[in-house]
């Protein structure tokens, strides 16, 4: 299967290690990654969608036309990109007038949009398209013995009619099942579905309250779980959940909050045997506590098989 990778802005510019992890692991799972040449901003909700619907739709149309031209669907990691592209496509395919107008705007650029390419979130591709079982069968290393918690990207849950792929957006399971496929135990906790709070203007307009809001989540993780790591599937969650821990520690004057945060694709790429210096190169909260404890799955499998053989014999 071919999928057109929509990188967004933050991932290629600030966290290219996540992009490396995606480009490394998808082909191992049978997905050919096609580049979105000349893509532009999704557009971010704080940009055109907040200023002018016409320019929002035109920008969405520009991007969607790229996947359509390549003849495949988009795969997106960033939650905001995913939701913005999904909403843009939704507006266009359900409103013939809007679609016609966007095509008028696109025409001089040599582009066209019909809505034939869909927009898929990478966690949906991994969970529904490939499946935890197949992922588990490909591992060279694993997270056996480690505990994790998961952070579902809001933009893959709500509004479920437009972005959703879970049976219930109130009780999502995709990310948990994907982390479990890597061998880790996933601990549930009371604030699992609380937003990270990192997108939009909240952190800018009310930094004190936004930090307090995020802290309630981290305190719940510390009090209620044995988490060795946090697995996210959105670039904003990743950057924000690292950043706030460092701010908490600075304010406290002690290293109380230091739970490594990984994009799921990074954990996956590590377990597929890729070099941490490439797929997990940039960490604002140290990750050695997890990377040094990756289990050698090939060796463990060999030992288990030998044991079974001896028992049978």
């Amino acid at each position: 299967m071919q999928l057109c990778f929509f990188p967004g802005c933050n991932t290629p510019a600030i966290r290219p290690d996540v992009e490396r992890a995606i480009r490394a692991s998808l082909p191992v799972l049978g997905i050919e990654v096609v580049d979105a040449d000349n893509y532009v901003c999704c557009p971010a909700f704080g940009s055109f969608p907040s200023a002018d619907e016409e320019a929002w739709m035109a920008t969405s149309g520009w991007n969607l036309s790229i996947a359509e031209q390549k003849g495949c669907d988009f795969v997106v990691q960033c939650g905001s990109c995913y939701s913005s592209l999904r909403m843009g496509r939704e507006h266009l395919v359900h409103d013939a007038e809007k679609l016609a107008h966007v095509n008028e705007l696109l025409e001089p650029t040599g582009r066209q949009v019909t809505g034939k390419s869909k927009v898929r979130h990478i966690s949906e591709v991994l969970f529904r398209g490939i499946g935890p079982e197949k992922i588990a069968s490909k591992l060279k290393k694993s997270l056996r013995g480690l505990h994790g918690v998961v952070q579902y990207p809001c933009h893959t849950l709500f509004p479920s009619e437009i972005v959703g792929f879970e049976e219930s957006p109130r009780a999502p399971e995709g990310l948990r099942r994907l982390v479990e496929a890597l061998g880790a135990a996933v601990d549930g906790y009371s604030r699992e579905l609380q937003c990270c709070g990192g997108a939009g203007g909240f952190m800018k307009s009310s930094p004190e309250q936004a930090l307090e809001f995020a802290k309630t989540k981290f305190d719940a993780i510390l009090e209620e779980t044995k988490a060795d790591f946090i697995a996210v599937s959105c670039i904003t969650c990743l950057m924000h959940m690292e950043r706030v821990q460092n701010i908490f520690n600075e304010q406290l004057g002690e290293e109380r909050y230091r739970i490594p945060v990984f994009d799921y694709n990074q954990l996956l790429a590590l377990c597929l045997g890729f070099d941490p210096k490439e797929v997990s190169a940039i960490a604002n909260v140290p990750r050695d506590s997890v990377i040094s404890r990756l289990a050698d799955e090939e060796k463990l499998r060999y030992l288990e098989d030998t044991k079974k053989f001896v028992e049978v014999w």
């Binding site: 933050n10 510019a13 992009e19 893509y39 909240f202 309250q209 490439e278």
Partner: protein, 167 residues
Amino acid sequence: MDLQEGSIKDLWKDIYHTGNLHYCFNCSTCISGCPASHGEPPLLVRNLARKVILGLEEDLLMDDTPWACVSCSRCEEMCPMNVMPFEMILSIRQWQCRNDETLIPSAIVEIYKRGYTQAVGVNTELRESLGLPQLNTITNNPEQLELFREMLMKTQVVSDNDYMFKG
């Protein structure tokens, strides 16, 4: 406050033209679970709906709480009357921008100029060190960037405020 029927009707049509808005009965579901409702001042989505319905134009134009929204869309999911509050927030921002150009987010100027809100495609050394290919970005493709700009120049927010995008 002008409570003449005409002005009330006109404002919601101008801001958020959907009949469902009038089904809002202030239940506050949109506030429970909203991260920005913890802000100072808090984002109170149902109050915004009320301001639109009642046509409180001046009050709404001065209100910067819609910009605190984190776009998590919980309100969109949970609203029992299908008001689609997140889309309403975006519509309020758009209306504010139409009436006060100083509110137009600078991000759209960046997108016009280089295609992205971040400097995508310039961190070549870092990308190389990670074994990543260089991206075929629009920033590095002047011909495509010009076509993109020409397209945007035909949209209202860019053409009405073209001075922001030049130079």
